[in-house]
């Protein structure tokens, strides 16, 4: 996955390097600009077993600021924000790999360096008893829950 491009960034940014579970690294560019999730929207994506994005809906495209072609085939951690603790994602993968539903408050990174908070639910897609991928659905959280999550994540 390519490093983020300064030409795509909207506003002043800081640089951070993220290291993922597969030991790959990515330079991300982060601003303090938040885009709230619009009321009534659901942000939906599906990945394969390796976590590569196979489907996105229009709300996902709109919120991420990537276009669909830039998203399909990419690892889902294209949205990973450096303020999110790795422990949250370890818990997510451990849970869905046990064929269970995971819920959590997630700060996502946009292509333009900004961010958006969501209440995310991830489930394994099971067909004839086998997991064939994962579906993630995100919706608008309350401010109070976001603040509580932020405070908790700072301690992790």
């Amino acid at each position: 996955m390519k490093d983020m491009n300064p030409d795509d960034i909207d506003g002043e940014y800081r640089e951070e390097t993220l290291q993922y579970q597969d030991n790959s690294r990515r330079l991300v560019l982060v601003t303090e600009i938040e885009t709230p999730v619009p009321d009534g929207c659901l942000i939906v994506s599906r990945t394969d077993l390796q976590g590569l994005i196979t489907h996105v809906n229009q709300s996902f495209v709109n919120m991420s600021a990537y276009n669909e072609a830039e998203l399909i085939g990419q690892p889902h951690h294209i949205l990973r924000h450096p303020d999110m603790p790795a422990a949250a994602f370890r818990d997510l993968w451990n849970t869905v790999m046990e064929k269970r539903k995971w819920h959590g408050y997630v700060k996502n990174l946009r292509k333009d360096g900004g961010y958006y908070w969501v209440y995310a639910t991830v489930i394994p897609n099971i067909r004839q008893g086998e997991v064939v991928g994962y579906t993630s659905v995100r919706r608008k959280p309350s401010r109070a829950r976001v603040e509580a999550a932020e405070a908790q994540y700072k301690t992790l």
Partner: protein, 249 residues
């Protein structure tokens, strides 16, 4: 022996005759006897589902989960270009202009329509509202939901978007949408049960051709549909997965 067909009880009452017309047309197309039974409420219909009395169902997304996963129903088609969306409405003179202004104790009027109720409760989450800190009144129809609002017995009302738009202009002038869902991925679907599954291909072919024929177009018009579109098994499995993420667990 007739096959048994039903329609989710959240259909537009103006389309009652349209469903009977569709049933007559479908029987002629596939030359099978089909009895259409319309239930007054979700409980009665669900009883019929639990007792395996149905062979063909135009199902809401909630019931589609049970029919597909537990009874082996398979999808045929859904109305083209239509998805289930929900509206939370207030009285026109309500001081509330955004969901975050709603407070614990808010009085909700809702119908026993599970996917609409679920979508609306999700839209209340940004205000930290849930079933534990709201007062919910379940009404028998969306007209009665509107009445609860208009008589100030409820602060907000949950509506299926299509039904809200079909309320009389007199009623709608006194209400205002506070929030509208934009999900686009949840919809009603015509499902066929195991006993009739062998006729799925014939049904689908006939339904897809409806909007190319004069008689077919007339039937579609009576249902307020423009056309049917095929729904595959994977399409429905995806919708079921989506529902599974939204249902409380």
């Amino acid at each position: 022996m007739s096959y048994n067909f039903t329609v989710s009880p959240d259909f537009n009452p103006d389309c009652i005759s349209g469903w009977f017309i569709f049933n007559t047309w479908l029987q002629k197309c596939i030359t099978e006897p089909i009895h259409l039974e319309l239930y007054n409420d979700f409980d009665s219909q669900r009883q019929a589902i639990r007792e395996n009395r149905l062979d063909l169902v135009f199902a809401n997304p909630f019931d589609a989960v049970a029919l597909v996963r537990q009874q082996g129903f398979i999808p045929v088609a859904s109305p083209a270009g239509q998805s289930d969306e929900a509206i939370i409405a207030v009285r026109e003179d309500s001081p509330v202009s955004k969901v975050e202004a709603l407070q614990p104790g808010v009085r909700i009027a809702t119908m026993d329509d599970p996917d609409v109720h679920m979508m609306c409760m999700i839209m209340l989450e940004p205000a930290d509202l849930d079933k534990h800190n709201t007062q919910i009144t379940v009404c028998d129809s969306y007209v009665l939901v509107a009445k609860e609002l208009l008589t100030a017995k409820a602060d907000i009302g949950f509506f299926l978007e299509a039904t809200y738009n079909d309320l009389s202009s007199v009623i709608r002038r006194q209400l205002r949408p506070l929030l509208q869902s934009r999900i686009q991925l949840i919809h009603h679907v015509l499902l066929v049960g195991p006993k009739l599954a062998a006729r799925r291909a014939d049904m689908l072919a006939a339904m897809l051709a409806m909007n190319t024929e004069e008689k077919g177009r007339a039937v579609l018009e009576s249902l307020a549909f423009s056309a049917w579109q095929e729904v595959t098994t994977e399409d429905t499995e995806f919708m079921i997965d989506l529902m599974a993420t939204l249902v409380e667990s």
